[in-house]
Amino acid sequence: MDLNPCMKHKAVRKAVRMFAEAEIAPIAHDIDRDARFPWEIVEKMKPLHFFGLQAPEDYGGAGMDTISYAIAIEEISRVSGAMGLCLTVHNGVAVYPIVRFGTEEQKNRLLPAMTRGDRIGAFCLTESNAGSDAGGVETTAIRDGKEYVINGTKIFVTNGGVCGVALIFALTDPQNPQRSAGVFIVEKESPGFSVGEKEDLCGMRANPVSSLVLDDCRVPETNLLGRSGNGIKIALETLDTGRIGIAAQALGLAQAAFEDSVRYAKERQQFKKPLSSFQSIQNYLADMATEIDAGRLLLYRACALKDAGRPFGAEAAMAKLYCSALATRVTNTAVQIHGGYGYSKEYGVERYFRDAKVTEIYEGTSEIQRLVISRAVLAQRT
């Protein structure tokens, strides 16, 4: 068992960090303050394959392994949680399900533009009466000849305001929700598709999280992803993968808060001594470092299992549960170490603190992760 990162993974981290620090870090504060999606960064990311991290090379992707993928998301999130979110949703829950479940025709039609970054992807499950309860979805996709007619409203859609392709979870037979759930590919030009109001959120403000409205939205029958009725299966498997991305994102935020805290503790003087000379602060830093390391090991184990083609759902849920919780704790402690400055927008930790909380909520709340984990635990023979 080698717990050291291999040369490739070190190289991936350095390559992404070099880009993130030079191109995203200088504007990370401003795009959060202005709640602005940085299209200019998207343009710079396109030739570097950020929009096709794990997609096969045949479809224009980088063909990365899952640990490399997690490292890339971690490093982008270390400077901007909102851009890390854009990438993990696009790659993890929009491109991935098309690669995994799409027909050859769908892959050829959709993936090249998505992996180039010309079409940003979104995954739409949550509605006003459905979220953790996927069975509560009310959006319908009723067959009409060679088309499906989709009606409903999706909320809290990450990348919603900028998406070119949205995967919509909908029922073909509302009387039979369990058996008729499907995932439908809706492109922004589809008649009846529109972007609703942008959400005014606590964190991740540079990502245009929005509602999406489907009003008699017509898509060809070839836009059904996979088979009719396998929507739940697609959603669950997609979310397993999505959790790896969110765990990585949470870890990146925690890492940023930790590094800022170490630097600040060495610089800031109180009682004529640096903060880092006080045991209370040392204890904080020790706990932060330990939690981040533990989270990273959990995350990379889930990634390694996925790459080995073995079941990884429970492990991904553990990584997501733990990394999101540690991100909230670590960013909270970072604010505490920074004192009044930590509560000010002058320092980054205030942003990390606001960004971190939602990692405990989206892609399955911490409560749902515990449900997933406990099912795996109880299924084992005692």
Partner: protein, 276 residues
């Protein structure tokens, strides 16, 4: 096809470096490595030539096995192949020995090369010696401090920074240039290229025997110069308050800073004082 050779050094990433207090050498295994910034510019210059007129780029480095990483990075950025010169016997080489080893390896592995590109200097030692010495070892012309270059037939035309002047020169091929950092923004590594560079690219790894080099002439043993002492100087700040009558304050200023004031004025104030 134009044959380009780019010499690359992996340098430590951090500013606070782990040194071996006994030998004065850097403990490379303790520091994370990165491609030396000027070598990155040399690679960039080679890639620009390749993009403009075609060519094949060989990236070559001498270093510990972990230096393979910068070769893979070079391949991800567009180099065609990588050559790693690694052997415990090569450790501790000074710049002269480094140039000797590089020259023999280039002759053996890149016969018929047209242009060798080096970084001007490395961020961990700043000698700027390997490029010029390598030109001598290869018995080819070399131009240092190159800022921009362009290939025309069998000639390279380049702009060279000479203190406050820009020189334009031409050199016949084969030749060698050392390239300054900073002319172009660094290229970012495409992630697909990086994945392929690790999955597919073969790195040729050569030890002293494979290069066919005299073991007495390499490493610390073959080096004429030795590093005696290396330390990381600490920066300090001091507030100085000068008091007294204005004349006395000016006198104190000169007492403390006459060297610096003199050099700013271009005069030796001590001589002035003595002669007055």
């Amino acid at each position: 096809m134009l044959k380009l050779v780019v010499c690359i050094k992996q340098v430590p990433m951090v500013s606070e470096l782990p040194w071996d207090p006994k030998t004065g050498n850097l403990q490379r295994d303790l520091a994370e490595g990165m491609m030396n910034p000027a070598c990155r510019s040399a690679l960039d210059a080679a890639l620009r030539i390749k993009e403009a007129v075609g060519g094949e780029i060989t990236a070559i480095t001498m270093g510990p096995p972990m230096a393979e990483e910068v070769l893979r990075e070079a391949i991800a950025l567009g180099a065609d192949r990588g050559v790693l010169l690694t052997d415990r016997k090569m450790a501790g080489a000074d710049t002269s020995v480094t140039s000797h080893v590089l020259a023999r390896a280039i002759e053996k592995n890149c016969p018929g090369f047209d242009l060798v590109l080096c970084g001007l200097a490395t961020s961990d030692s700043e000698t700027a010696q390997v490029g010029p010495q390598l030109a001598e070892e290869l018995d080819i012309p070399g131009v240092t401090y190159v800022d921009e270059l362009e290939i025309r037939d069998r000639t390279v035309r380049m702009q060279r920074i000479a203190d406050y002047f820009l020189e334009t020169l031409e050199m016949d091929l084969p030749g060698l240039v050392t390239v300054m950092a900073g002319r172009h923004a660094p290229r970012y590594v495409p992630l697909g290229g990086l994945q392929a560079a690790f999955a597919e690219a073969d790195i040729v790894s050569l030890d002293a025997a494979a290069i066919g080099i005299d073991p007495e002439r390499i490493g610390a043993k073959g080096s004429a110069t030795k590093i005696l002492n290396v330390f990381s100087p600490t920066e300090g700040k001091e507030n100085i308050v000068l008091t007294g009558a204005p004349k006395r304050i000016v006198e104190q200023l000169f007492e403390r800073f006459d060297d610096r004031i003199g050099s700013a004025l271009g005069r030796d104030l001590k001589t002035d004082k003595r002669s007055s």
